[in-house]
């Protein structure tokens, strides 16, 4: 009987990520207030808000020119 070589199936190992737990109300409020503090400190230290996207993952609304 001819020998048949069976190639091992290529498998890609993937890291299992823990499913994100929903935030409790307290965690949510703490994050809201912590983000306010991050924004306040950035402004008072002359850091542009776009930097906060990179450093803290904060996203801001893009603003049109003011009407005045």
């Amino acid at each position: 009987m001819p020998s048949v070589s069976v190639k091992a199936k290529k498998t890609v190992r993937t890291k299992r990520r823990a499913k994100a737990k929903p935030m409790t109300k307290l965690e949510m409020v703490q994050k809201m207030l912590a983000d306010q503090k991050i924004i306040r400190e950035a402004i008072q230290n002359g850091i542009p808000l776009k930097e906060l996207k990179k450093t803290h993952g904060l996203t801001f609304a893009t603003l049109p020119n003011p009407k005045n």
């Binding site: 306010q36 306040r40 402004i43 808000l49 776009k50 996203t59 609304a61 003011p66």
Partner: protein
Amino acid sequence: MVLRLRPYPIQKIDEFTYGFTTSKGIEYYCSFLSYAEYFAKHPDIAPYFFSFNLTLKDRKIKLPPGTDKRIADTVVSIVGDFLISQTNAVVYVCDNSDGKESARARKFLSWFNYIDHPSSNIIEVTSNFNAGGMFIYSSLLVNKKNKRFTEMVMAYLELTDDDK
């Protein structure tokens, strides 16, 4: 209340920030932070929720006594124009780091009682709530012509429902 708004000139500092300077030389910056992450259960409307942030540019500055009515006018103009798109909603959560959150909440709520500005189309929903023993003052501002108005209000009330 019928009042004529006299906002300070608003400058665009960068794509995410407005600024204005009061007659006393006090500089404020404003921005709208995305709150989409808190409305994950409502993916259709989540991207349209923002928080409003008003920050003193110089933390060391001493604020003069009395009320500068034009600061309120300026904030109303900025938030009113932001909501004029009729798609966005603004959630205001009062900072409680200095123990002045109730005064801050009262002041913010009083700012939106105008009828001679696009902000007259803004509906304000207040929902103060308890989170793990912390009492939080919050409000939702949404344009009454917003097509997702009811969904947005319901989502906000669900978010700010008291801890059971």
